[in-house]
Symmetry: C3
Subunit: 398 residues, 3 copies
Amino acid sequence: MTFMKIEEILRETENLDTALKGKDFLLTWEKTMAELKSVMNIALALKKMRDNNISPRVFDSGLAISVFRDNSTRTRFSFASAANLLGLAVQDLDEKKSQIAHGETVRETANMISFLSDFIGIRDDMFLGEGHKYMLEVGKALDDGYQNGVLPQRPGIINLQCDQDHPTQSMADLLHLKEYFGSLEALKGKKIVMSWAYSPSYGKPMSVPQGIIALMTRFGMNVHLAYPEGYELIPEIVDIARANAERSGGGFHISNSMEDALKDADIVYPKSWAPFSIMQQRTKLLKNGDTKGLDELEKVALANNAKFKNWEYNEEKMKITKKGNALYMHCLPADITGVSCKEGEVSKDVFEKFRIPTYSEAGYKPYVIAAMMFANKFENPAMVLSQLLKRNSPRIFR
Amino acid sequence: MTFMKIEEILRETENLDTALKGKDFLLTWEKTMAELKSVMNIALALKKMRDNNISPRVFDSGLAISVFRDNSTRTRFSFASAANLLGLAVQDLDEKKSQIAHGETVRETANMISFLSDFIGIRDDMFLGEGHKYMLEVGKALDDGYQNGVLPQRPGIINLQCDQDHPTQSMADLLHLKEYFGSLEALKGKKIVMSWAYSPSYGKPMSVPQGIIALMTRFGMNVHLAYPEGYELIPEIVDIARANAERSGGGFHISNSMEDALKDADIVYPKSWAPFSIMQQRTKLLKNGDTKGLDELEKVALANNAKFKNWEYNEEKMKITKKGNALYMHCLPADITGVSCKEGEVSKDVFEKFRIPTYSEAGYKPYVIAAMMFANKFENPAMVLSQLLKRNSPRIFR
Amino acid sequence: MTFMKIEEILRETENLDTALKGKDFLLTWEKTMAELKSVMNIALALKKMRDNNISPRVFDSGLAISVFRDNSTRTRFSFASAANLLGLAVQDLDEKKSQIAHGETVRETANMISFLSDFIGIRDDMFLGEGHKYMLEVGKALDDGYQNGVLPQRPGIINLQCDQDHPTQSMADLLHLKEYFGSLEALKGKKIVMSWAYSPSYGKPMSVPQGIIALMTRFGMNVHLAYPEGYELIPEIVDIARANAERSGGGFHISNSMEDALKDADIVYPKSWAPFSIMQQRTKLLKNGDTKGLDELEKVALANNAKFKNWEYNEEKMKITKKGNALYMHCLPADITGVSCKEGEVSKDVFEKFRIPTYSEAGYKPYVIAAMMFANKFENPAMVLSQLLKRNSPRIFR
């Protein structure tokens, strides 16, 4: 029965025309619909296999390197779980230095750590205009090493969050929606509200909202982006979302009122982020090591945030949504009013109502990462998964 | 020959009526005699298998998470060795924050790290009334996640030391005694002295002496607890030891004189700990972040300790024991007079005489941890071990 | 075709009379020519196997411990890669304390971490007269534990850089030269210049130049050591190099002029190091925790270094070498003028010309480490590798 379900997924995947092999996974908008579907299907197949004690291990040895330029527990564990599931050992590259290393150092280090490595997962979301650039630079260095015979394989790069996109998050979110509503088809026309929400902290990256609007618009969803005036996202990515919606037959709308946006919403994703202009100033100050300037900016930003404490998602707001029961999403951890902070993104009761679904949402991330790795390594992932199903080697001895 | 020895252990284990599967291993006094014996037997079988290059690996992939809220080299390596032996990769959860995280954070984090994890090893011995409570809380969070379908498996928790018990230590100690004296039967009536000893530091956890008195009393041993007035342990656990002794036909005695206690002792375990009342005050001060109060408490406690420098285990004291040659035990590292400190728990010559046995004692710990993991995963561990013996897959290629 | 090439290497290796099993790899000058050749052949065979997706994994489980008393990215990754390739998990022993631990602590810790460990890789290059001594001490402690039945196996120690030698580096360098020039035979008579070069930092270890002059002289190379007056290496090791050259029919010369040394050089290795006398003073000051003295010494040393800024390897200097095109080597990272510093060891253009070869040079290190491990474990490594070739188990599923 499970075998049949997995085989069904694989049959569907086989027909998808993809070119993921040997490619980095940096931004969802660089990938075709077939490729995104393929990654989701592989993720689901891997999950179902593991849930049924069938090991999808394909590496006998090999390293998966993680580079975290920001603290992270969830993504670190997701990456470690994905690597381990496929048979790779995680090795952390500890970049304690706060300065942005570029040029020669990146080129050399990328090669030095990659002689026996299959993947490099990078989280670099602190500096606007830097994270994605850094990943491209690492990629170029690896190309150089591979083409010159230094590296026996070209390690694939997985974007674990950059200044532009957070593809492992948004893909896990999409997979959650697909499973929750039954199919990708069922998502068409569904109204999803990606809304700014108040948080007592400032400087949260924009990659989650950007990733959400750019991805969900491709699947015919009716995406509403809501934020207080001044909390704009990177304009180029907003343009991508708009164009996506046109192509997919979905919708894309921006509003400066949470309440307006929430009307008839099927899904809500209330989350804080720092505005584009603040991030620009912050990046400049960080680069110059201007701690005084940073302190002042923080004060200004927090004072500005404080004007929008009413941007909290709570019972009142929930009532506005479709049947008063829109699916609540969050990448976690959420700033929960009265729990993790005095006033936050979401009220305690609403969060508690959707706590378990947000956990399930997060649970897809390790499999999405594993799927990105899998698709990077095999020309025909569906066929390899089929062979693994046949191999039927248990994860836990039986 | 080895196979026969292992098969004998397994036959003995098969007949034990246990319910360890899916259960956390937090306190030895929550486990039945059959369960304790089973864990020891599994540990021994695993050790003998590995010593004979037979791999007991049962996981093809999976994570074992370690949470250390206190520094540790020995336990860290024991946990890593155990996980690795069974096929799991260790992933550290780095909890740098000194505050005691509870509530929502624990509930969420426990789930977020557990999607593909099989075990969580926790060391939390700094705060009286906290460590065990924390482990229960993590367990409840995992139950919640598992029951709600968030986690495909319920990771088992291994107590790597809490405020009450140190089961991986006391079980390794017991296994050491069993092997040293030949059998559990042979331990009946043996006099073991768990004695406080002087150390130039203060604030050492009480979990080792508590674990020892609560465990050894169950096996019919004649347990003597000795300490200077004021160095009491947690009363409830002393009561457990007393009740155990009554049930098992062993003995349990408290004395305020090391010399008195040592008379005719078969085994001595001299080790420093902080008194209950000091630990209570310390926990309060730590919670309030009262560094000044902590400094003052340290002064008071050290001054009090200094009154009992004669509580050193040395040649003089050893002469009092049975045939002047009681087996010396320690969880290591010991405070050795003239070696690791000016005046300490044990004299240099006595320690040196028993150095190798203390190393052997420690050597059981990785296998005890592995056995706890093993028993948590398999309904019938003896049968699975039998199958692994038959599989006869080498740890090192041959 | 690849199989034939590997089998050829193995046939050659089989005939080498070696006694590497169970021995630590600390200093190349303690090993016979047959042993050095064997390690290089094993390294090459492992590399070719992995490059052709044949897994040389020989451990089903086991730990490889790394002890880094100095920061390191490259060596850390090399060690991790080697361990992982053979099937071992890496466990770091974090020795944060700056003091030099000796005696009881070393003896005990070495045993406590080794119950299920197969290798300990140690980097300890900060203190003159300490690193090698420390490794010997760890080795003795392991012997003691093994002989007394505490350890089921005697973990092998791999020197990842000490105060005297850097064997994993020099062996990787030699393997690079062998592959570059076609054979060890081809290296005979080749002129290699190990030259001091200017760097804006001070206190770089002497183990690389010492390792190079002591190793290359054994293979009949014409080794020229060049440095400004006062930058002497450890005299005993210079004597070893001189004696090696005499035995091998190679040459060994010291000069105080980079230009003189470079004449007709086939290979150049320009690299900064701190002079012997400075290292002696530094070690003394470090031991005494004399930060003020260290600051003063740094000033003196840097001022002295600054007199020799013309010791930069650049186009001008390169012209002096054979056909103006000597092979440039470096252990990386190099201090590149105008790239990683204002004035450094090598000019930007010369480094760029040889950048890829220096990467390839570094790429041998993981395999040299794996070969040292391999030779430590198997009586007849060539035979085992032959069996692994026949096993033909893929590294990546196919």
